[in-house]
């Protein structure tokens, strides 16, 4: 199994109305990979954004080459992180897959280094350990985050300190196996992947990340989000 130094990395980037962020994310990724020397491709899976995200993606494709930037459209009522990843993976040619949201893209190189270190099956970002952290969060948001994570740790004992992170690196065959087994939607899906990975005996490495809030756009954390988080958590508790 090739270690990260020699492997090709496919980045899956599901987007919806990310016209502003997308060029920045792509630029950061390109720069990171050029520095690390990895062969890479960025697969943008757009959910029929009405704000011109696809036009921007096509421009980026011209700038960086269509072997490096791949545009896939997925207009489907069932668009969710899950279906976007399945769709994206079909065309991925790397042996490592990075899954991330289009609003945070700091530390890809850290992930690659960590993977090489321990030949981990999965490398996950954590805001809660080491010098990981957040920026621009008020006390209430931090409290909710820590509280929710505590409950998650008690109930699921997942073996990873941060489950809802949307920034991970997987070995390709590991991700494929997990996608078959996981059934949740949205970010609960991310949580389920880690829990199942643990059960299947995959190794998980953690990298402290700085979660800088959305560059553009609103981050929402209202009562609805909390309720749906708890529902998702209890579902995982009962089904994994």
């Amino acid at each position: 199994m090739a270690a990260a130094g020699t492997g090709k990395v496919s980045v899956l980037l599901p987007t919806y109305n990310e016209r502003e962020n997308l060029p920045l994310v792509v630029w950061l990724l390109v720069r990171t990979f050029q520095e690390s020397g990895n062969n890479f491709e960025i697969i943008i899976i757009d959910d029929g954004s009405p704000d011109g995200t696809q036009e921007v993606a096509e421009q980026l494709e011209k700038i960086y080459g269509s072997d490096k930037i791949v545009m896939r459209e997925l207009t489907s009522v069932l668009f969710s992180s899950g279906t976007a990843y399945i769709h994206g993976m079909k065309h991925a040619t790397g042996n490592f897959i990075v899954i991330m949201d289009a609003d945070l893209s700091h530390h890809v190189s850290l992930y690659l280094i960590k993977q090489k270190e321990g030949n981990f099956d999965i490398v996950s970002g954590t805001r809660y350990k080491g010098n990981g952290g957040v920026y621009g969060w008020d006390l209430k948001r931090k409290l909710i985050s820590r509280g929710a994570n505590f409950i998650t740790q008690v109930l699921l004992r997942p073996g990873a300190s941060d489950l809802t992170g949307s920034f991970r690196l997987y070995k390709k065959e590991v991700l494929q196996k997990l996608m078959e087994k996981c059934v949740s939607k949205g970010y609960v899906f991310q949580m389920e992947m880690i829990v199942r990975a643990r059960q299947l005996g995959y190794t998980i490495g953690e990298v402290p990340i700085s979660f800088v809030d959305r560059v553009y756009g609103e981050s929402k954390l209202g009562g609805n989000e909390i309720v749906s988080f708890l529902k998702g958590l209890l579902t995982l508790f009962a089904t994994t």
Binding site: L24, W27, G133, W137, R146, V154, V212, V215, F237
Partner: protein, 94 residues
């Protein structure tokens, strides 16, 4: 197939629960000496309260030590500036 978390909890609680019930609520004739029974009876509540305190302390500690990444934010702003310049140069209308 591994046992589900919920099942693990239910089994664990059932085990501890029945052990406690057997010892604390035993009918006369099978009872432990009084001091033991008196300690055992409120044990579940004590444990619950202890767990509650532990939870509050842990979450409080983690909240207090939650890092703020000033540098990372500043660095990101830097990168964004550079990115926009370069992308504009390369023909992106942004």
């Amino acid at each position: 197939v591994t046992m589900r978390k919920l099942s693990q909890w239910l089994c664990g609680l059932a085990l501890l629960g029945s052990a406690w019930a057997a010892l604390a609520l035993a009918p006369p004739g099978f009872q432990l000496p009084t001091p033991y029974r008196q300690a055992l009876l409120p044990l579940p509540v004590y444990l619950l309260v202890a767990f509650g305190c532990y939870s509050l302390a842990t979450v409080g500690y983690r909240l207090a030590t939650f890092n703020d990444c000033e540098e990372a934010a500043a660095e990101l702003q830097e990168h964004i500036r550079t990115a926009r310049q370069e992308l504009r140069r390369r023909g992106l209308s942004c």
